[in-house]
């Protein structure tokens, strides 16, 4: 079946405007269907608010009341601080472990056990230790953000082509040179994938922390609004999180493409031309 589908002639390219128009039309159709379903009471408006009232909720939460901003800020703070601390720790520790055979051998069982443990299970323990508020929230995000970068960095470093390691050795490279010129760049694609995974779970981690124990943040706001059956406002928070997640993910993708340029054919041509120009201006002769 799939083979047949793959053999079909690709659709002719459409203009960007045309594509936007199509997406907009589908989006409006979906929203109208929702609105109509609510009006006809096919969906219970108590739990599924009218799209129009969600829109109105956006206006209220962001502009007239403006109360979402501080919560959004607190959640973002926990996400950014927790992600930075967790991933720096994860990547850093993985580098130490990756550079030392002995550390790797002795630490491996612990890492495997910790990796298999659901991170959220440690949540209440952390809250007991740090109390309510931003410290425990940040600590949970940090914990959630530690493992993917750690495991990926370690994997990236130990899966480097053995011949390349031997080549560095035969050139008499120091440990630092081997690390900075071979191991780290080789591991970068995996490290970046780990960071993206961590970022994806960071938002979730912050929310769970806010659900179980916090007094401010988007998760708290969602709990409060659903508790008072103010569903339109709760949906505003949820949609805000969707948007946040989307932009964070796209941002990380862009950074990934920028750093790991050699995976992208178009980019390597541009980079090659740039380096050629730099060579000219340095040596002043045509290569």
């Amino acid at each position: 079946m799939n083979e047949i589908a793959d053999l079909t002639i690709p659709a002719p390219k459409r203009s960007a405007l045309n594509i936007i128009a199509r997406h907009l039309a589908i989006f409006l159709a979906l929203i109208s269907a929702w609105e109509i379903s609510c009006r006809l009471e096919w969906l219970d408006p108590l739990f599924f608010p009218y799209p129009s009232s969600i829109l109105e909720g956006f206006w209220r939460l962001y502009i007239t009341q403006g109360n979402i901003w501080s919560h959004l800020g607190l959640t973002m703070f926990a996400v950014i601080v927790g992600f930075t601390a967790g991933s720096v720790l994860g990547v850093g520790l993985a580098i130490c472990v990756g550079m030392s055979d002995r550390l790797r051998r002795y630490l491996k069982p612990y890492v495997i056990v910790l990796e298999a443990t659901p991170r959220i299970a440690i949540g209440p323990v952390i809250i007991a230790a740090f109390g309510f508020g931003w410290t425990s929230k940040t600590a949970i995000v940090m914990l959630v953000c530690f493992f993917a970068p750690f495991v990926n960095t370690l994997n990236g470093m130990i899966s480097v082509d053995r011949d390349k390691v031997e080549m560095f050795r035969s050139m008499g490279a120091s440990r630092i040179q081997t690390f900075s010129k071979l191991l780290l760049p080789s591991a970068l694609p995996e490290i970046s994938a780990g960071l993206r995974l961590a970022m994806a779970s960071a938002l979730g981690g912050a929310l769970v922390a806010e659900f179980i124990a916090s007094n401010a943040g988007l998760g708290v706001l969602i709990t409060q609004y659903t508790g008072t059956l103010n569903m339109a406002s709760a949906f505003v928070c949820v949609l805000t999180l969707s948007a946040l997640g989307y932009f964070i993910f796209r941002g990380m993708e862009a950074v990934d493409r920028f750093i790991i340029f050699w995976a992208d054919r178009d980019r390597i041509e541009a980079v090659g031309r740039k380096r050629l120009a730099a060579w000219h201006s340095r040596l002043g002769d045509r290569p």
Partner: protein, 266 residues
């Protein structure tokens, strides 16, 4: 530059200083239960091209890695420039079957890697790297990344990098083994020209008998279980040689001689 490589033949111990010398070199694995190289003895003279030929498991790569200082020998004496091999030596440079290029570096930056590792890169290092890329026929691809190069071109870059080290002993571990027959033949011709030009002593590992004879002054025939040098076949042709030499009766006689050495020992 060096017009002819008048190859000195005769026995390996004719008084001339050896660049590489091995005496009773043994390498065992798994606590001595596997003998990878058994009692290797040879002397290699400056500028000589030696092929190590044999089936997989005959210890040819192990022997090469010991000369490179990447692998410790279990017993015996092994010296490079009269210095006992204790680890990687700046006068020795090795090339692998895979190009082992760094994907995030352009061809020229890959060639410059040995200079970078040795210290600060000077403009003369840069000029030398460009000259070497020209020598391997890749000057126009100096700013291409490995992903933009074919397998053969990548190995040429690796060859240029090998020469950038300034080492006078080149160790090549089946360098063109992963390439197609046509590319491989062409690169062998170029390799012969290049090592003559830079006047390097070369150890070339291969499992292809024709290739081994075509390139070498002497062919070390190696047999497995335990891996040992079963015989040394002298190749009397002057280098560089035209590819057509491979069709000559003398060449075929050498092929049968190598095969014969295998036959006696397998």
């Amino acid at each position: 530059m060096i017009p002819t490589m008048t190859v000195t033949k005769g026995s390996a111990t004719d008084g001339q200083t050896a660049v590489i010398s091995a005496q009773n070199v043994v390498k065992t694995f798994a606590n001595g239960s596997v003998i990878a190289v058994d009692d290797a003895n040879f002397q290699i003279k400056p500028g000589e091209f030696i092929s190590l030929v044999g089936p997989s498991g005959c210890g040819k790569s192990t022997l090469l890695r010991m000369v490179a200082g990447l692998l410790e020998r279990s017993s015996g004496q092994l010296a490079v420039h009269d210095r006992p091999v204790k680890g990687p030596d700046p006068s020795v440079s090795m090339m692998f079957q895979k190009p082992t290029l760094l994907d995030w570096r352009t061809a020229i930056e890959n060639v410059l890697l040995p200079s970078e590792i040795a210290g600060r890169v000077t403009d003369s290092d840069r000029r030398k790297a460009m000259d070497l890329l020209e020598l391997v026929g890749l000057k126009d691809f100096a700013f291409s990344f490995p992903a933009q190069l074919s397998g053969g071109m990548q190995q040429r870059v690796a060859l240029a990098r090998l020469l950038q080290t300034g080492a006078d002993i080149l160790l090549l571990d089946e360098p063109f083994g992963a390439l197609d027959e046509f590319t491989r033949e062409r690169l062998n011709v170029e390799l012969m020209r290049i090592v003559s030009e830079v006047n390097a002593t070369t150890l070339f590992v291969t499992h292809n008998i024709g290739e081994a004879i075509y390139l070498a002054d002497r062919v070390f025939v190696m047999t497995p279980r335990p891996g040992r040098v079963a015989g040394i076949v002298e190749v009397p042709f002057e280098r560089p040689r035209p590819p057509s030499i491979q069709q000559s009766p003398e060449f075929n006689a050498l092929v049968s001689q190598v095969r014969h050495t295998f036959g006696e020992n397998v």
